[in-house]
Amino acid sequence: MNSGEKVAMRKYFESLPVYSEFFDEAIDAIIVAMDSGISAEKGRVLIELGSTNKDFWFLKDGFLKEMYRSPYAKEDSLFNMIPPSSIFVNEDTLFSNQRPQHYFTAYTSVEILRLKEAEYMRLLQKYPVVINLLYLSGTAEIQKSRRERLNMLRMNKTPNRIEWVQQHRRELYHIMDRITLAQYIGVSRASLYRAFEKNKKYQF
């Protein structure tokens, strides 16, 4: 990994609530074990996360769309947007040994780093407590973020949802086009456009 990638990775670990200097040795070992950057152009599906892939992925730069197949839609739907400095995984494969129901596409050009499953297992043997804590803290952050967004999706007025994204997902708000924003907040395009017409402060 180059120095920029190492710095990005270290910053991520240091941002976790569980972090202390006691973790530094294990974090250094993780960084050494990670693959160099993989780039993908805007629109490309990340086929690297195949059906049996249990690697840990770190989005260093750019934005990803996490997509799924909704039984109520003709086309695949947006589940979530992944911002830079995020860990992402094949959740179904990693947690329950099932085929992934989600896949990832590059919303902008992206750079990603990878910790292979075999490397993770090796590090887990060597630093069981720290690696477990980092894993739990990392997944807990994803869970917290998911719960916050779910609370937004329960707001029954479109303007309230838009304001939530403006306040709590600022970098996403600036990068998303209106169609993606409508999908992200679970409203129809017509409803989003009506809200924008009524209120100028939503303008990008």
């Binding site: 609530p17 109520y72 589940f79 739990l136 997944t139 779910l150 999706l153 329960r154 029954n156």
Partner: protein, 200 residues
């Protein structure tokens, strides 16, 4: 205290969520199961509330609970806990902070509860405790993911369909006002959608 039969029932319930490796972990889970206490919770009573200061881990034997999130003066349902599932305050149990949710029994329920001190002890010992923590986080993530699917439906009718797919008895468990809040639509829209799908 739990009877031997109840300990066994709990043990197998927990086993359905946790993948154990080796006899040591099997034994550790059996010991942990024996530290749960069983209680009946009448409909309307809480498992934990906004003033609770210890995060116990609950395993539902019978009945259904709704976890409410307090936002200002209003509270709305965040998620449900059903038989064979865990119920816990994420704030209290995972993050050791004041809970912004409370959990209320929607029907008469039977629950096995592990006091916080035993959960924390298991966690400090690593092994089974770490696995249990991982399971709880993963279950929450999966629940939130499934509920997000419902909430991403732009039509009220589809949201109701998606919610009923997860909980077929939802319409009988909670008042319509709470149901409208749960699926994030207005009451008028809820009544229109229910009529459309033949439930009103």
């Amino acid at each position: 205290m739990l009877t031997q039969e109840e300990v066994e029932r709990l043990h197998y319930g927990l086993l359905s969520h946790i993948q154990l490796q080796g006899d040591v972990e099997v034994q550790a889970l059996r010991e942990l199961s024996s530290k749960f206490t069983l209680r009946d919770v009448p409909a309307g009573h809480t498992l934990w509330d906004l003033n609770s200061d210890t995060g116990d881990l609950h395993f539902i034997f019978e009945g259904t609970f709704a976890e409410y999130l307090q936002r200002g003066t209003h509270s709305f349902i965040l998620r449900f806990s059903r038989p064979g599932k865990f119920a816990f305050s994420e704030d209290l149990l995972l993050y050791s902070k004041r809970s912004d949710t409370y959990s209320k029994a929607l029907s008469h329920s039977k629950v096995a509860s592990l006091p916080s001190v035993h959960f924390q002890n298991a966690l400090r010992q690593g092994g089974l405790g770490a696995k249990l923590m991982e399971v709880l986080i993963n279950l929450s993530m999966t629940e939130y993911r499934n509920t997000t699917y419902e909430m991403l439906q732009t039509s009220g009718t589809n949201r109701i369909h998606a919610a009923l797919e997860q909980f077929s008895d939802l319409l009988h468990l909670i008042p319509r006002r709470e149901l409208a809040d749960y699926i994030g639509i207005s009451r008028a829209s809820l009544f229109r959608s229910l009529k459309e799908i033949g439930h009103e």
